[in-house]
Symmetry: C2
């Protein structure tokens, strides 16, 4: 099947971590190699667009070198004459966060054949007074369509309103909800608090009703399946969604899995590069080729060939029959045998896949009883030229810690994000010193410190102070306004206008909240009357094509309506026509991986 | 006269310092406002291209916010349907340093109506192992044509070869030689050393002979007119040049001035923003509208309206009749009068120019005898809301320093570049501690430290070590090769190839050096025979249009020839037909500034 028709073709990949280990003369190129492969796969499979789920960049302030390489790759693969065969029919200013307020391929001065959509992750999240991510630079340069950006403000839990990018291709409608990374703890609280996360639904006259759309949620968070902690449980996500594309987790669990009772499937593509030498990163990396037609989809997992091979094994010394725990030579011999086997395995896989071989990464986690010691660096000397970082092959742990290994796959994210630890140290420090900050909330101070140190954002503290001052002024003004009981005395200066906007949005949201018990299709005369009036103010959704793009671009919040909460209870979700996976649309095709 | 025809229209501006004071909520926008004005002037005057002479950015690693704003401005003004009416006919890979190896408007996937050419300055100079400037990011994104980039290597004085961008518009040919900033001391030594700076001249068959071209040199250095120090004397520049466009110096000396005996004119456009509160920055800022037809040119200075007004005065307290040096009140009264007059002057100028008024900067340099003290901060309190940085109005100096004020205009660059001072401190530190670095040359260590601190380049030390190692390997290989007396045993790995290239260039240069006494037009049979042979290997220069662009892009060093040194002595320069300023081509038009 080719690019035209009703079937939307998407290549999904995530966590490319461009610039990871960029100082390493060998591994420094890995992230770019694989990102280039992903782009080439998108072109080869004639997809409509490439969808990335955050952490395209390893840092929010990447080096000039990383930016140049990234731009060069995007320019080479995305800029061409191929016609784009889908339309973004929702309000682009609301769902695409750039000052040009439009999807990149509609700019008549560019020939873009492969649009790329991305949200931000935890490494490339927006910072500073301008709330800018490195993705904004590439969006300004018209290389990316950056969506899912939120501005939470400083006080309280905060509130986000998620406007989907609604894509039409022939008779297929896709509403793509993007939620760039928010600190897990905070998002968790927000998802628990009613009304803190608002999922908006645009309405179009004379179009396929939204119940026939395919709803995708793209997010970038720590994921738990039941276990506690700060991670986001899939059970907290809204039920109206048909498919969740989960970024951040590096393990490849790319085959869509149904979540019982929630009415959606989750695909977790996994990173395109291993950034930790842990078990789950050793699984083969994939991109996902996703085809959607109406409310049916099919997926094809595509193995990434350019990924540096990574072999992982665990050895419990006391369980090995050929090892005498007191005899260092026998330990060495055994471990060398394990490493050699892994190197052989890696070579076989590389030769069968036909890709240009890269030196593999090898990691052996050795559980010992503490009696003998092994010099990892000396051990690695044998593998110079055979293994990429020979000094890192062995990871020694005392057997006491062995019990935890089973739970390790759940905790991998902690290995990836040591940031939280640092922050706790700061909090502890403040607690220890018995300091009680009077001016800035500790949370904000923490965030600013984190952004300053980890995000290399020199303006972090400035932004933090600024936001708090603005927030304070707003609060002050609001209380003044309330006393006056009229908004007519509001000054028309910038802050006033901003507040007005904020207030009108709040009213909008309030209205949506009031109608929580009534879905949009409600026959209640008062409600539907109101919504029809709103409908008149709305402009009709254009039939497609970029001629009407200009009219469509202006933010027109009236065109959006909060997704009715009624759909959000399990009973309705079950009644609703479920998304069809591998149904009459065709069987799921899976390319088998070489074992 | 319109865009077509034989007359090339260029807008010249420099030192825009995008991102200067970006944390300042008011002045942070100044650099962008004026850069936007410059771009709009380019569009309004229908120029063929915009030429910038370095320091487009204030830092080589600007914040995400600065990058986004810069890209947005370039995108708004440069991307459009206007046809570009000139051709770059020289080898683009040699003179434009980007991996796409072509001038930006020839990329068929972009509609570029206003090409921008720039060299780098001292603030946005390329750093790191990749030798990348922020200008490379914008070049990768196809917003800039970055030229004049050199890679000096680490050892010795170094050598640069400058390939011009040769532009043809109708019958007008311009060879534009770009020389991005090199440390003044180093460039000075290079300009003194024969053969260290090689000015290349491309040859085209069936084209206007190069003696009829208009040669422009664009550079970004400290400038002296006679006085010693590290700055570059205009007498060191090559005489074959017709016009020198001098960046870096912030004072606007934009009217081309002839340099006696050198055969060229110099225009020093001056920065588009004041980055120091000194005398020379208070002069009105301008852009230069330059028209070139054949070997004739005319210039029009265009005042920049968006520049924040800056008023400067010097007061010698003991010379004032109404001031009693012992009476603080009389001093205050006098200074307030001076400030008020400057504010009034600034207002009048703003209203006559019709631009949206910005609060002015005011600086009074007060020479006192040390008897009375004035609190600058308290003094400034009176001007909150009237002057932009009221606390900075007064600069107090003891009269002993007064004698130096006359020389100040020569020393302004030192105020702009405190970097040198820091470096001297480091050198002093090393000398004091009696450390003798064995591994890295002190110079390189200094540069790396400077890049690390000032350029915010985390990889500076890495790059420094890397380059020294590579250099050492090269030296080693070279000496080995010499022993073998044959180059056939050279390994074909990357280093080998690099060395080969280097060696062949050297041969080329050697040949050029050998023929130093013979100009290209020489009738010596052997010489001209050799050059004709070279001519056969060369591809014929395309007649224009982008169809032949592909063929033209490949680096073809044979097409370049060093500018014969014979032209470089004064006698020949005098004999040569001089460039005609304001000749029969039309009178020089000057827009008068409001006084």
């Amino acid at each position: 099947e080719e690019k035209g028709g009703n079937s939307l073709r998407v290549l999904v990949a995530t966590d490319c971590h461009l610039g990871y280990l960029e100082k390493d003369e060998v591994r420094g190129f890995d992230s770019f190699d694989t990102f280039e492969e992903i782009c080439s796969l998108a072109v080869k499979n004639k997809v409509d667009f490439l969808l990335l789920c955050g952490n395209l960049f390893h840092e929010n302030k990447p080096s000039n070198s990383t930016l140049v390489k990234a731009i060069e790759i995007l320019r080479r693969y995305c800029m061409n004459d191929c016609p784009v065969q889908f339309q973004v029919i929702s309000d682009q200013a609301a769902s695409l966060q750039n000052r040009f307020c439009q999807v990149n391929y509609e700019d008549p001065n560019y020939k873009i054949g492969l649009p790329v959509f991305t949200i931000h992750g935890d490494q490339d999240y927006p910072t500073g007074t301008d709330n800018l991510s490195v993705n904004d630079i590439l969006t300004a340069g018209n290389f990316l369509n950056y969506f899912g950006k939120t501005d939470l403000g400083c006080t309280g839990v905060g509130k986000v309103t998620v406007y989907p990018v609604v894509i039409r291709k022939g008779e297929t409608y896709i509403a793509m909800y993007g939620l760039g990374n928010i600190k897990d703890g905070r998002l968790k609280r927000m998802l628990h608090e009613p009304g803190a996360v608002n999922w908006m639904q645009p309405e179009f006259q004379d179009e396929t009703p939204s119940s026939d759309w395919f709803n995708i949620l793209v997010l970038h968070q720590k994921r738990t399946r039941g276990s506690p902690g700060d991670a986001i449980s899939e059970l907290l996500l809204p039920r109206f969604v048909d498919m969740v594309i989960w970024g951040h987790e590096h393990e490849c669990l790319i085959d869509p899995q149904e979540v019982p009772g929630m009415g959606f499937h989750i695909t977790q593509p996994g990173s395109s590069i291993a950034t930790s030498l842990i078990n789950t990163e050793a699984n083969p990396k994939h991109a996902l080729f996703l085809e959607i037609k109406g409310r049916e989809y099919r997926t094809t997992k595509i193995p990434l060939q350019s990924v540096r091979p990574f072999e992982y094994a665990e050895v419990v010394l006391e369980d090995q029959v050929d090892v005498d725990p007191g005899d260092e030579a026998s330990i060495h011999e055994h471990l060398h045998k394990v490493v050699s086997n892994l190197i052989d395995k890696s070579r076989e896989e590389a030769s069968s896949s036909g890709s240009k071989p890269k030196l593999p990464l090898v990691r052996i986690k050795v559980h010992h009883t503490g009696l003998s010691t092994i010099n990892s660096k000396q051990f690695g000397q044998h593998y110079v030229g055979k293994v990429e970082t020979p000094q890192d092959i062995l990871l020694l742990t005392k057997s006491g810690q062995r019990l935890q290994t089973m739970q390790e796959s759940c905790n991998i994210s902690e290995d990836l994000c040591p940031n939280e630890l640092n922050q706790q140290t700061v909090e502890a420090l403040i607690a220890d010193s018995n300091i009680k900050p009077q001016v800035l909330p500790i949370d904000d101070f923490n965030s600013a410190l984190h952004e300053f140190v980890e995000g290399d954002d020199k303006r972090a503290f400035h932004a933090c102070v600024q936001q708090n001052i603005e927030e304070a002024i707003l609060q002050e003004k609001k209380s003044l306004t309330r006393e006056r009981t009229s908004s007519e005395n509001l000054q028309t200066d910038a802050l006033g206008v901003f507040e007005k906007q904020k207030r009108s949005t709040t009213t909008e949201e309030q209205r949506a909240l009031d109608s929580d018990d009534e879905p949009i299709e409600s026959s209640d005369p008062e409600e539907s009357g109101g919504s029809q009036q709103a409908g008149k103010k709305r402009r009709a959704a254009p039939g497609g094509g970029s001629a009407a793009a200009g009219a469509r671009r202006k933010t027109d919040l009236a065109a959006f309506q909060r997704v009715p909460v009624k759909e959000d209870d399990a009973a309705t979700a079950r009644k609703r026509r479920p998304p069809v996976a591998a149904g009459r649309y065709g069987a799921v095709i899976r390319r088998r991986m070489p074992k």
